[in-house]
């Protein structure tokens, strides 16, 4: 109190020491001059700037390449069994001389750990399993990549189909508004309240698992999110002049929805598709783990992981390739999707 009175009498003059720099140089915008260029060129430029996204894209491309080329790179097939050559550790020609990938494996026994090399014990000097062989003598290299191929096909197909369904649903609901929108949104709310995994599991119990049924079941899981985005974008755009102009010229509703509005919202839609691919890969892997995945002899990353799980303490090399490929694939797709989201919508705040 006394201080306040003193301050009134004699106004306090701040000195230099009372101030501190805010250090907001990075917030101060610097004008830069951009030459006008097409939308997609700008997107590519922005995408390239984000290192993690480029890294993700490279991994997606590498894995996709191996998923289609890997299975034919050696003479084994994904279902060819050879019980004489089961549970062999990874062995790669040339690299084997470094001591890695030479076919040795550590077996823990009651008396301690011992290192054995089944290739020499079974006199298989000319046999090479790059990633090892599994319990039935199948080549894990071939199986990993053909599994990745199956997982990728399922995930991409499911993502594209649910894009088409979700997008159409959202666009139609948003464009017509009123009663149509009300009914469609109530249906959507109920669909959204149902745990998707439960429905996918039950559907696969009723309709026996196969590539097509899995795609159909996965398709049902993601369309809700897609339709929300499409509807929100439609609500933003439908009052704009170009829609009015098109309507004045006599365009029908379907023309406006799919030829006028759709090309303008392609950015968020692509981003959402990229995000739904890893989700689909995950759900497929989950289904395989539960025993509702791709039926044998075909395999997917999920079914390989669930097979490897049975012997993962004795032969860990059997589970490592599918699990690493799957983790990398999901990580890379997420990174690409993140990068695309920012590249396609520069107004978005940095997350």
């Amino acid at each position: 109190m006394a201080e306040t009175i003193a301050a009134v009498k004699e106004p306090y003059v701040p000195t230099e020491a009372d101030f501190r720099l805010k250090n907001n140089t990075e917030d101060i915008l610097v004008d830069s001059n951009f030459a006008s260029q097409s939308f997609w060129k700008e997107v590519v430029a922005r995408f390239k700037k984000k290192k993690s996204a480029v890294f993700g894209l490279i991994f997606v491309l590498i894995i996709t390449f191996f998923a289609f080329v890997g299975p034919v790179m050696n003479d084994y097939t994904y279902s060819g069994q050879d019980l004489a050559k089961k549970n062999l550790a990874p062995r790669i020609p040339l690299i084997e001389y470094t001591g890695f990938f030479d076919g040795h494996e550590n077996i823990s026994t009651t008396s301690g750990t011992k290192t054995i090399n089944l290739y020499f014990e079974n006199k298989l000097a000319d046999t090479f399993y790059w990633f090892g062989s599994d319990n039935f003598g199948r080549d894990i290299w071939t199986r990993t990549w053909s599994g990745a191929q199956v997982s990728l096909i399922i995930a991409v197909a499911a993502a594209i189909i649910d894009m088409i369904i979700g997008m159409s649903y959202g666009l139609i609901s948003g464009y017509f508004g009123g009663k149509v929108d009300m009914v469609m949104q109530r249906i959507l709310e109920i669909a959204n309240g149902i745990p998707r995994l439960v429905i996918v599991t039950l559907l696969l119990l009723v309709f026996k698992p196969g590539m097509l049924t899995i795609i159909v079941a996965l398709m049902l899981t993601e369309w809700v999110g897609m339709s929300r985005i499409a509807r929100a974008e439609m609500l933003k755009l439908k009052e704009q002049e170009f829609v009015l102009a098109s309507r004045t010229l006599g365009a029908g509703s379907m023309h406006i929805i799919f030829s006028e509005v759709l090309p303008n919202i392609i950015g968020p839609i692509i981003t959402q598709v990229m995000f739904s691919i890893p989700t689909a890969i995950f759900t497929e892997a989950f289904l395989s783990f539960v025993g509702l995945g791709i039926p044998v002899p075909r395999c997917s990353l999920g079914s390989l992981i669930s097979e490897g799980f049975n012997s993962f303490t004795t032969h860990p090399y059997q589970i490592i390739p599918p699990i690493v490929v799957m983790a990398l694939l999901m990580l890379s797709f997420n990174l690409v999707a993140d990068g695309l989201r920012e590249a396609l919508d520069p107004k978005l705040k940095e997350m």
Binding site: I194, I323, L331
Partner: protein, 311 residues
């Protein structure tokens, strides 16, 4: 506000009803009858059908089914343990699942928060990059990958924790499953906290508070953190979904006698009744939690309430 809550509750109720209808239809589609034992003759089978009410018209059966479900009578198991009421099967398993799930949320929320704050305060340093890398990995890599890795390294190699769940050491054997389930929670909360915190730290009211001369701690705890944390419930919904799916596989990996592993066993041994009953429980839990989250949104951010009322 009342109107908003009422609307949410009504929607939740209809969703639950819709789920029950779908479950009922799927149950009719399931291959095989529960009484396809060859030793039964037609008369015995008919009496069994009458006993369980399976001879009545399908519409009556549906209402009976809905009535039983909501009353808590979930039927009996046919395969896993014959003629045991499913409620009894679940009663001992639910607490274990909830315990592990709760521990996972707690670990995830705490570490995620710290990680997010660290990243926000040390923005654009090596800490920030590290936290971002951890959270990207946590969001994109499924929980059972972590479960397998942890179980191999700390359970099998180092033997710090038991690899499989044991009733004698509940706490010790819950550590690894809880950590593997917490990764997604941790990563999403870290990501979200960082983004919110950076936004709040750059806001005008923080500048004002700072220029008023508030001390660092007070600034952070009563101004920045409070405002940054409120929207954290917006990440709750995806967390719940992930916990539920993650727990199915993680419980199987660590052989935890919880609801998730019961569901997996029921699927693998074609015990449809148990699958349907557990699906109902999962759906009811999910819908219940979503309802709470939705109402919380409405209380905290009136804009959402207004937007949804306006529909």
């Amino acid at each position: 506000m009342k109107k908003y809550v009422l609307k949410r509750v009504v929607t939740a109720f209809f969703t639950l009803l819709a789920i029950t209808l779908i479950l009922f239809i799927l149950m009719q589609l399931m291959p095989g009858s529960p009484f396809n034992d060859e030793k039964l003759n037609d008369a015995q089978r008919a009496s069994l059908y009458a006993k369980y009410g399976l001879d009545k018209p399908i519409v009556v059966q549906f209402f009976q089914y809905v009535f039983n479900m909501f009353r808590g009578d979930l039927g009996v198991s046919y395969k896993i343990s014959k003629n045991t009421p499913i409620t009894q099967l679940i009663a001992s398993r639910l607490p274990i699942s909830i315990g592990v799930g709760f521990a996972a949320v707690m670990i995830g929320a705490l570490i995620g928060l710290l990680l997010g704050l660290l990243a926000a305060f040390k923005k654009d340093t090596i800490w920030d990059t590290l936290a971002t890398v951890i959270s990207v990995i946590g969001v994109s890599v499924p929980s059972y990958v972590f479960a397998l890795a942890l179980s191999y390294q700390f359970g099998f190699k180092l033997k710090w924790f038991p690899m499989l769940f044991s009733a004698k050491d509940v706490i010790g054997s819950s550590v690894l499953p809880s950590i593997s389930l917490s990764m997604f929670t941790m990563a999403s909360i870290a990501r979200f906290t960082r983004a919110e915190m950076i936004e709040v730290l750059g806001s005008d009211y923080m500048l004002l508070a700072e220029s008023k001369g508030l001390s660092g701690n007070k600034l952070i705890f009563s101004h920045a953190l409070r405002n940054a944390l409120i929207p954290i419930i917006t990440v709750l919904a995806p967390l719940i979904v992930d916990l539920m799916t993650g727990s199915l596989v993680v419980e199987k990996i660590f052989s935890i006698p919880g609801v998730g592993s019961l569901l997996v066993n029921a699927i693998q041994s074609n015990d449809y009744n148990v699958v349907i009953a557990l699906s109902f429980i999962y759906s009811a839990m999910y819908i219940g939690i979503m309802l709470v989250v939705d109402i919380l949104y409405g209380i905290i951010d009136p804009r959402i309430r207004v937007a949804k009322e306006g529909d």
